[in-house]
Subunit: 235 residues, 2 copies
C-alpha cells in the first residue's frame, strides 16, 4: 500500500551538497582572489562538522538553534582550518547560504513530482525551514510541506524529529515512509515504525568516493533514484 506521506532526507538524498558547496567555494575564491584551496576538500570538511555540531542539542546540553547557526559556526571553524582569512561578514553570510542554493540531483524534481501525485511529499531534514524553502525555490523541488528539525525542535536521528513530524500531519509512523540515502537515518525512522526507502547516491561525497549499496532486504524499498522509487511505488 502506498504510504500517506513520504518523508525525505534532503542533503545528499535530494540535492548534491558536495558539488554545490564546492562550486560556491570556487566562486568565492575567484571573487576574492583566494588561491590554493581545495574546495572539494573544504566542502567535505565543512560537512564533517555538521554531525558533531548537532550532538550537544540532541543531548540537551545546548538549547535549540536552527541549522543556519550551526553551519555558520562550522564555516568559521573550517575557514580557520584551511587558513582562509579576511572574509567580510557579508561574504561569510553569502557563503553560509550556499546550503540554501544546493542543486537537486538530476532525477529529483521529476521523481518528487511523480511521487507527489500519490502521496504527501515532505522534507524531513535537519535543515531549517527557510533553508529548505529557499532551496526548493532555487531548484524547483515541489514539497507539499517542510517538516523535520525546526518544526520538531530536535535534530535527526533523535526520535522526536521523526515522531513530531508525523504528528504535525496527524499521521502514525506506520503511515509514513522515510526516504534517505543514509542507512542510519532509515534505521532511526524504522525503529519508530516508519517504512523505509533507500536511495543510492554514490556520488554524494564527491568524485572518487564510493558508497556501498546496502543489502536490498535491509529496507522496504531500495532505489537508484527518485524516479526509480516513483516507478516502484506505481506513480
Amino acid at each position: 500500500m502506498t504510504p500517506a506521506m513520504l518523508t525525505f532526507d534532503v542533503f545528499g538524498t535530494v540535492v548534491d551538497w558536495h558539488a554545490s558547496v564546492t562550486r560556491e567555494g570556487e566562486q568565492l575564491a575567484a571573487a576574492c582572489g583566494l588561491d590554493g584551496i581545495d574546495w572539494a576538500a573544504f566542502a567535505t570538511a565543512w560537512r564533517g562538522r555538521y554531525g558533531p555540531s548537532m550532538a550537544p542539542i540532541r543531548d540537551g546540553r545546548r538549547p535549540w538553534v536552527r541549522l543556519d547557526v550551526l553551519h555558520r559556526e562550522n564555516l568559521v571553524a573550517t575557514l580557520a582550518e584551511f587558513g582562509v582569512e579576511g572574509l567580510s561578514d557579508a561574504q561569510l553570510d553569502h557563503f553560509n547560504r550556499a546550503w540554501h542554493r544546493l542543486d537537486p540531483w538530476p532525477d529529483s524534481v521529476a521523481g518528487l513530482t511523480r511521487l507527489k501525485s500519490r502521496c504527501i511529499v515532505a522534507a524531513l531534514s535537519n535543515g531549517n525551514v527557510e533553508l529548505i524553502v529557499n532551496m526548493a525555490k532555487h531548484g524547483g523541488l515541489p514539497w507539499d510541506v517542510v517538516l523535520g528539525a525546526e518544526p520538531a525542535r530536535q535534530y535527526k536521528p533523535h526520535p522526536d524529529a521523526y515522531l513530531r513530524s508525523a504528528a504535525i500531519m496527524g499521521l502514525d509512523p506506520e503511515q509514513c515512509m522515510m526516504v534517505a540515502a543514509h542507512p542510519s537515518d532509515l534505521d532511526a525512522a524504522a525503529a519508530l515504525g516508519f517504512r523505509t526507502a533507500y536511495v543510492h547516491r554514490p556520488a554524494e561525497m564527491g568524485p572518487g568516493r564510493t558508497v556501498d549499496m546496502p543489502a536490498r532486504d535491509d529496507f522496504d524499498f531500495s532505489a537508484s533514484s527518485l524516479e526509480d522509487l516513483a516507478a516502484q511505488l506505481g506513480c
Copy 2:
C-alpha cells in the same frame, strides 16, 4: 518592489469555506437521512464560533491547541444548536475535516501559480499545518511553505502569528505582504510593518450576503482576485 514573501490568509481569501462546508453538510444529511437543516445557515453558525473559540488562547487563558480541535468543539456545539443528534464519532470526524477539503476560488490556483514565480507564497492561516496541507492537496494550491498559527503557536490577529511567521523565513515584516479578504487581518499585519493586499471576496459569506469594498487607499494593493493581484505585481 515585489515583496520577498506573500503571506496569505486562507479561509475566505483563497478558498470558499461557506459553499464547501454547506455542500459537506448536505452530503452528510443525505447519507444519514437528516431532514430540515439549513446547511448554509449551519456553515455560517459553525464559522461564527471560530473567532470566539480562539480568544482564550490568544489571551493566555487556555494552552495552545490546533484549529482542528477548536473546529471539533465548535461542531459539537453547532450541532446541538441546530438540534442534530445521533452522529457517530466517525461521522463527526469526517465532517470536521470538511475544513481540510475546502474548494479554492476559481482564480486561486492560477493566481498563486503566477505569484509563486516571483515571490515565496506562504499560507499564514489560523488553520493547522495538516489542515492547510490536506486542503492544498485537495485543491492543487501550490504553497511554498505553510506558516501561520501552528508554527507560531499563536492565532491571528495576535502579533506573534505574523512576526514569528516572518522570522521563520528570516525576513523582516517590511519584506512581507499580507494578502487577505479581511481588513482586520490586514490592519493587524500592517501595524507590524507588513505591506498589505486586499482581495475582494463578496461571496465569502454565501449567496445573498454582501461585503463592502474598502477604500482603495486603505491598503497597498486592492484586487478583485489573485489573478488580478498577480497582474498588478507584474507576475
